[in-house]
Each structure stands twice: as C-alpha cells, then as structure tokens.
Symmetry: C2
Subunit: 152 residues, 2 copies
C-alpha cells in the first residue's frame, strides 16, 4: 500500500503531499492544496459536494468541477482514496458462490476472484457487537491487466 503518509502531523502530511504532486508532475495550485487540507482535516467521509461546501469558505469561487476533478486526481496519486461501497452506478450480484471482488479503478470493471483462506476472516468482538454484520469480504482495488498496460 502506498498512501502518501500515515501517522504524521498535519504539516508533514502537507509536505508529503506537495512532494507527491511534484513527483507526479502536478502543479501545486491553491485549490489543490485547499482540497487536500480539507480532506485530511475531517474524519468523516465527505462527498465531492461536501468537500466543495467546506472549501468554499476558503476559496469562495471554486467550482464543483474542480473539486470533483481534484479528488479524483488525489486518488490517482494515492493521496486519498474512494470509500468502497460508493461511486458510480450500482452493480448487483446474485450472491451465488462465495467470492471476492476486485475493482479496476480505471475502467470500473468488477472481477471476481476466489480464495478460500479469505472466506473466514475473524472479526473482532468489539466490532461484532457494534454492528449487525450481514456481509464481510476482502476487497481489492487497482488496475486490471488491460488498464495496467495503458498506464505505462
């Protein structure tokens, strides 16, 4: 996993983010920085619109499209990620044989894979007690073989 930085202060994160942008040849615009700051300042899981509302207090005329675009860029460079279970048209599954899902973040394709060992994951008691769990799975995200080639 290659998230920008964990267990670091706000300033360290910011510095890490700026380095990450430069590494990917991305410009350090005030909008980009404001959006990143907003995102790491909350422990909720905001939608693009929610981020938009928050950032507007700082940059009043920022556009929603910029927020959307920027959030996607952040996920692409690993400075943020999308919460699984959200995004794009809903896809359904007949829930047949036990399997896990891999989502290609480029083309959106969902690929099943199966591995018995993943089937029985132990969920800690404090979590068990807190929620009524209907489904547990291991979930992978990345590039499928087709999209991985295009990335090079």
């Amino acid at each position: 996993m290659d998230t920008v930085n964990q267990n670091s202060t706000f300033e360290e994160k910011l510095a890490g983010f700026e380095a990450c942008c430069r590494k990917h040849g991305l410009k350090l615009t005030p909008q980009r920085i404001a959006i990143y700051k907003t995102l790491i300042s909350t422990d909720s899981h905001p939608t693009a619109d929610e981020v938009y509302q928050m950032v507007r207090t700082e940059i009043s005329n920022i556009s929603l499209d910029t927020v959307n675009r920027t959030l996607l860029t952040l996920t692409e460079i690993g400075a943020a990620f999308q919460v699984e279970g959200t995004g794009q048209p809903r896809r359904f599954d007949g829930g047949l044989e036990d399997h896990q899902h891999f989502l290609c973040i480029k083309c959106g394709k969902v690929i099943d894979f199966q591995h018995d060992a993943l089937g029985d994951i132990h969920i800690p008691d404090e979590v068990q007690g807190q929620f009524k769990i209907l489904r547990k799975t291991v979930y992978l995200e990345g590039f499928c073989s087709v999209c991985a080639e295009k990335e090079l």
Copy 2:
C-alpha cells in the same frame, strides 16, 4: 452470512427465493421473479439499467423504476447484494491511519473500525499476478446500531 442459497441449482435457488419473499411478506410478482432470474443467470455484475434491458425481453413494458426498486428489495432480504465499490455518491477518505470500513446499507453511513490483524491479509499469487493491486481491505456491510433497532 445469510445469502438465500449457495451451491444450488437454478430451480432450488428460485424456490428458495420464493420462500424468502413469503418469509418477508413480499408478493411474488412476475416482475420480481423475472428480475431475480435475470440476476442469477449472469455472472457479470449488471447495473440496474443492464438488468432492465435484459428483463425487457421477457416483460416488455416493465419500468426502470421497478427494476431499481426490486433490486434494492432483493438486497434488503439478502437475495442479492450490491457490489462494493459501486453505488451512490462517491465518498472520499484522506487515507490516514490504517483502517477498515463498515457500510450501513440502511442509512449509507460509513464507519471506520480498526483491527491490526486485518491489516495484513495474504493475497494469493495468482491474484497478485493478475492485477496491479493498489489497495486491499476487509469490508463489512450491515446495519449500524441505530438502524438495527429500527429493523426490529
């Protein structure tokens, strides 16, 4: 895990589905059955619109809204589920400390939880080779404490 039925024939699944509907006091409408049949007849992960197109060959004047509604009812009774990584507005996460997500399928709230043991999940080589994995996590779905009470 309480999916309707795994490792069973088409007819068994259908019978199980009908029983499941009755159990939940749901009527067995032709639309509902057709949608369920369609869903378990494919190993892709269709969107509501894709299911709609397929079911239309059987019930030509079915409405998209019905398909949507029905697919959601199916997930509520455990006869199907939504593929994680899809659905509703995208939510973002600053990706700070390592954590897992629990999604309440009722209110849509995403709750973080943390358990070290879940951190390092072994992904089999045949999967590793097939994709470029950027993120792996254990993902839970169900009812949060608030919604679980309302369900009773």
